[in-house]
C-alpha cells in the first residue's frame, strides 16, 4: 500500500492532494499491465476503471464506419486515461488500445465514486483535477480541429 501511495502521489494528476484523501484513493487502486496491442477498454463496455499511466502509450480510438478505427489522441506517461467511469451511463465511448507495453495504476471507478459521494471534499478535489484535465483536452481538441497544417 505504501508503495502504491508513493506511486500515486508522484502522478501529476494527484499532485498536492491532501494526505487523508490519498489514503482513500489508495484503497481503490491496484497495479495493472497491458501488453502492446491489448485493449485497455473497448467502446460500449462498462467503464468501471480510471487509469494513471506510469509507462507506455495508449491510443484513444474512435469508431469510424467503413474504416478502421481512428486514433484521435495518445495518452502517455504521467497522464490519466478515462473519464467515463465518473458519469452515467458509465460506459466507454472510445477504445483504449495499448501501443506499447503499458504499466498503470487502475483506480476502481465504483469505489472512487462511492468515496467521493461519501466525502464531498474528496469529490471536489478529484473533480477539480478532472475538470482541469478535461479543459486541457478540450483546448487541444479545438486546436486539432483547426487543421492548421492543411494547404487551404
Amino acid at each position: 500500500m505504501e508503495n502504491l501511495e508513493r506511486i500515486i502521489a508522484e502522478c501529476p494528476f494527484f499532485a498536492g492532494i491532501d494526505h487523508g484523501f490519498m489514503e482513500l484513493v489508495v484503497g481503490c487502486a491496484s497495479n495493472v499491465k497491458f501488453e502492446a496491442g491489448a485493449y485497455v477498454f473497448k467502446e460500449g463496455t462498462p467503464a468501471d476503471t480510471f487509469y494513471l499511466i506510469r509507462e507506455g502509450k495508449v491510443a484513444v480510438e474512435m469508431f469510424s464506419p467503413q474504416s478502421k478505427p481512428l486514433v484521435v489522441a495518445t495518452i502517455g506517461e504521467g497522464e490519466i486515461l478515462g473519464w467515463s467511469w465518473l458519469l452515467p451511463p458509465y460506459v466507454w465511448k472510445f477504445n483504449g488500445h495499448a501501443l506499447q507495453n503499458v504499466r498503470a495504476i487502475a483506480l476502481d471507478g465504483k469505489c472512487l465514486r462511492a468515496k467521493c459521494e461519501e466525502n464531498h471534499d474528496l469529490g471536489y478535489a478529484v473533480l477539480k483535477r478532472l475538470v482541469q484535465n478535461i479543459e486541457q483536452r478540450l483546448d487541444e481538441t479545438r486546436f486539432q480541429l483547426l487543421d492548421v497544417y492543411s494547404a487551404a
Partner: protein, 283 residues
C-alpha cells in the same frame, strides 16, 4: 572574380543562376531541392533562418527559407511545398535545369546568442524546414549548447519531413526529439495530438532556454501560450514569420506587419516585438 555574396550586396535585385542538382520527395506535396551555383564559385553563405528569393524562369519568384546545412558552402537547399503554380513549377524542376537565386535575406535565428543555453525548437508542418539549419548548427557545435529539445507536429504521418534525420537526431546526446501528428493511422505508434501535447513529455529547463518556433501563426500562438505557462519570458521566444515577401529588401511593403518589414527586419523576431501585432484581428 566577384563572389556571389559580394554581388548580392551590390545588387540584391539581380538573381544569380543556380543549377538544380537534386529534387527529393519528402511527402506527397513537399520536395527538397539542392542547388549549386552556376558561376563556379561557392554558394552564398547564409545564417540559419534566412531565406532566398527563388526565380522560376517564365513563371515567377518565391520566397523560400533555406533548409540546408550552413556548413556546406557548395550548395543551397530548400524544402518547398507545392501549393500553387509557382511552387509546383519549382518542385517540378529536373536535375540540370536552372533557377535564379537572390539572397540570402533577412535575420536569422539567434544561434550565437543561444550559446550556453538549452534550445527548445517547436516546429509545425513545413515549419521544420527553416529550423533544420539550426539543428545542423547545434549538432556540429554540440559542446557550445546544452540540451536540444525538438517538438515537431505534422498533420499525419505521411506529412512528416526528414523522417530519417529525426530518428538520427533523437540518438544524439542531450537531444530529445518528440514527434506527433494530428491524425494517426493504426500503424502509427508515436504520439497523436497537437504539437502542444508534447510539452508534457519534454525535459524543459525554462530559465536557461531559448525557444525557436516556426509553423502556422495560429500554431505558434498556442505554443507561445504554453511556453509562457512553463515560465519562459517573451524575450526568450523567437518566431519565424512567413508573410507575402516580394522584393525581400524592404522596398515594396508587401510583407509589412505593423511597424516591421518581415523580409528585412525578420523573418525571425523575438516574440516581445511581435506580440502587439499578433493580438490584432485581420492583420
Amino acid at each position: 572574380m566577384m563572389s556571389a555574396a559580394t554581388s548580392i550586396a551590390v545588387n540584391p535585385m539581380t538573381p544569380e543562376p543556380y543549377c538544380v542538382r537534386d529534387v527529393a520527395k519528402e511527402t506527397p506535396d513537399t520536395f527538397t531541392l539542392t542547388l549549386n551555383p552556376q558561376n563556379g564559385n561557392g554558394a552564398s553563405s547564409f545564417k540559419p533562418g534566412q531565406f532566398s528569393m527563388l526565380w522560376v524562369f517564365g513563371v515567377g519568384e518565391l520566397p523560400i527559407s533555406i533548409s540546408g546545412d550552413p556548413a556546406k558552402q557548395d550548395q543551397l537547399v530548400y524544402t518547398v511545398r507545392s501549393v500553387g503554380k509557382a511552387t509546383h513549377a519549382l518542385v517540378s524542376q529536373k536535375a540540370g535545369s536552372a533557377v535564379g537565386v537572390r539572397g540570402p535575406f533577412g535575420t536569422g535565428w539567434p544561434v550565437e546568442a543561444a550559446r550556453g543555453h538549452d534550445l527548445i525548437i517547436v516546429a509545425g508542418g513545413i515549419g521544420l524546414a527553416p529550423l533544420r539549419p539550426v539543428i545542423y548548427h547545434v549538432l556540429a557545435h554540440r559542446q557550445e549548447y546544452d540540451r536540444l529539445v525538438l517538438l515537431y507536429g505534422a498533420r499525419s504521418p505521411r506529412d512528416l519531413l526528414y523522417r530519417k534525420e529525426l530518428a538520427a537526431w533523437a540518438r544524439q546526446r542531450d537531444t530529445q526529439v518528440l514527434v506527433t501528428v494530428d491524425y494517426g493511422g493504426l500503424s502509427w505508434r508515436n504520439h497523436v495530438g497537437v504539437v502542444t501535447t508534447l510539452f508534457k513529455f519534454a525535459r524543459l529547463r525554462p530559465a536557461r532556454s531559448v525557444a525557436m518556433l516556426c509553423g502556422p501563426e495560429i500554431m505558434m500562438r498556442f505554443v507561445v501560450r504554453d511556453l509562457e505557462t512553463h515560465g519562459l519570458n517573451r524575450n526568450q521566444i523567437y518566431l519565424s514569420m512567413e508573410r507575402n515577401m516580394k522584393c525581400a529588401v524592404g522596398f515594396c511593403g508587401h510583407c509589412q506587419y505593423g511597424p516591421h518589414f518581415i523580409c528585412k527586419d525578420g523573418p525571425v523576431f523575438p516574440y516581445d516585438q511581435l506580440a502587439p501585432q499578433m493580438d490584432k484581428y485581420e492583420l
